[in-house]
Symmetry: C2
Subunit: 167 residues, 2 copies
């Protein structure tokens, strides 16, 4: 007899230590991400590339130009999503990736956080030293609300922020 | 004397044949994309990975599972965005990419289009033969509304659908 309870039909697996470790590993190794924002004038979604790193507390950060459409969108509507994890060879859908749902928090240049984030980020992105202090660039921290982890076909998980926290 | 007219301050360059060729090349070579959708219940953006190909008329298509969150979002709200173009070595922001603004059009399995799209897609994605005929998978065509092309730092263009059309 086939089990037809709702649980058995859900494509979402129960979160375990392997899923948490995979999610953390994807974030720790990422140097860029796809960002989904909502354009303020139209409400339309926009997918764009951003640089990606972690701060000293393993929270996602990016360095972006205020001239970019996505930065204007984020400053108007901070709810956003980031896709991290790049495919290797073969079917691109067989490779793990994670979609974060997050709130973008701009880092004020005069705040105590700024110097620490700047120093930590430049270790991960040394080439960003060329433009990190340009007037139109700013750091943004992403407060994770939840995440969808896809470890490959049939390996889907819904994670909470605490599943991805440092430690 | 510095020209301070609004035009001179815009980060967007005038579209030329080089920009059109770069945009078409990014689409022709892509096997996956980042998709930005809007979640119907919350209005929040979601970034996720999808497979990516072109149909015989060079229009973007994807094959996706109805079980995925992004498919449910697209079927409810077809306005979406796709990011295409992967970074190589060095600064990820120095590599070209294109953000399409598009409308998702599901391809009905019994439509005349379906067989043609299926055959063309499997040439580009041979491993998808394993699941292309599963009941929960469907083809989606993306009607391009406009595009942002970023050829690397300071090389931004706004393209129209006609700039990316075949020919």
């Amino acid at each position: 007899m086939i089990d037809q309870t709702p649980q058995s039909k859900s494509p979402i697996r129960e979160t375990d230590d392997g899923a948490r470790a995979l999610g953390k590993s994807l974030l720790a190794n990422a140097r860029f991400a796809a960002l989904a924002t909502v354009e303020p004038e139209t409400g339309d979604p926009l997918a764009s590339r951003i640089a990606f790193g972690l701060d000293a507390d393993a929270q996602p950060v990016s360095l972006m130009s205020r001239l970019a459409f996505h930065t204007k969108a984020l400053l108007s509507q901070p709810r956003c999503s980031l896709l991290v994890g790049e495919p290797g060879k073969g079917d691109p859908l067989a490779h793990p990736r994670i979609s974060l749902q997050a709130i973008a928090l701009p880092i004020v240049r005069t705040s105590p956080d700024h110097a620490a984030i700047r120093a930590h980020y430049l270790k991960q992105h040394p080439k960003a030293a060329l433009y990190v202090d340009f007037g139109d660039f700013l750091f943004v921290r992403f407060q994770i609300r939840s995440a969808y982890l896809n470890g490959g076909f049939g390996k889907a998980y819904v994670l909470e922020a605490s599943d991805l926290a440092a430690g």
